[in-house]
Symmetry: C2
Subunit: 164 residues, 2 copies
DNA sequence: GCAAAATAGTCAAGATACTTTATCTTTTGC
DNA sequence: GCAAAAGATAAAGTATCTTGACTATTTTGC
């Protein structure tokens, strides 16, 4: 018995191995559900990209540069994002008393309501998901993701690729 | 004891509840690792978006319209994606003998190599991840994601939003 | 058997969400 | 004083979509 024809592929093996696909699909499903629910609650101009600010902004405010680092994007890109979210009224820029160059981006009253709504929305989606897979498995999912997320940050991405 | 000041927010509660963030971060981490490894293996023009084709294209070929549906995007967007991946030499369009309107997108020899490399890459990342959280938890993650993914497809996204 | 409707795919333009590069101002830390 | 850092502003480029309009076929309804 010779080996399979060399042109053949086992694409099923690829799909069974590739956990990236289910990860991304579930993440996008969550994002779509969340956005639809924000829309229902009147936050009808909120965009997927705005999540990057809301997810990292500290309750007491955060500098733009720090936000950019946390979100893993350029200061300019974060500046554009903050411009938009400021226009929507959810955040404001105030001078940083400890550094005259810096400004602190912080939630407005409306932004705080957004976060409270976001908490409810996250709970609602959590309920939808636990109805599908059960509370226990959902909590396992959360734990595993959190563990993986915190540990994966330390790992190098490209195994010494560098410039050859 | 009165309730907390009405302006206060518990952003920690939001972050603890919001599973969307860890989902997206881990998904993006996987994607970055995979792309770096594809790059190392010479697939240096592969883009994140190309994953949408590679993930759904059947071993014996698939129609563009079907690919678009599977990936949840417009025919035009999928057409552009296929254009690029065809330019890179990984797929080709051939006429569908059973329907003169249709074309079948299928892997070239080079595309089959890409899938074989992809299988190895997915295994490598799986190894990195299991080194972080253990085999058992990694397999749990895969199971839970697959279950959630298949079941979430049936769920309506926006609870009867519709037009008011 | 044939006109109308549906389907497969393409072409073109525009929107979104960034990125990079570059310049400028203000302020800080020595 | 002066380099460096925080941020704003602007221009151009890239990636990844969308929508609308169109052609070429196939399917359908009678």
């Amino acid at each position: 018995m010779k080996k399979k024809e060399s042109g053949s592929i086992d694409i099923e093996t690829f799909r069974a191995t590739n956990i990236g696909q289910p990860l991304m699909e579930v993440a996008k499903d969550f994002q779509r559900r969340a956005l639809a629910k924000f829309y229902e609650r009147g936050h009808d101009e909120l965009q997927p990209s705005h999540q990057a600010v809301l997810a990292y902004l500290h309750a007491s405010g955060t500098r733009l540069t720090e936000l950019a680092e946390l979100a893993g994007m350029s200061k300019q890109a974060m500046g554009q994002l903050v411009d938009e979210i400021e226009r929507l009224g959810y955040v404001e820029r105030v001078p940083d008393p400890s550094d005259g160059r810096a400004k602190i981006v912080r939630f407005t009253v409306s932004g705080k309501k957004l976060i409270r709504d976001g908490t409810k929305i996250a709970s609602e989606i959590q309920e939808q998901y636990t109805a599908l897979i059960g509370v226990k498995r959902f909590e396992q999912l959360r734990e595993i993701l959190d563990e993986l997320r915190s540990k994966a940050k330390m790992l190098p991405i490209g195994d010494e690729v560098g410039e050859k």
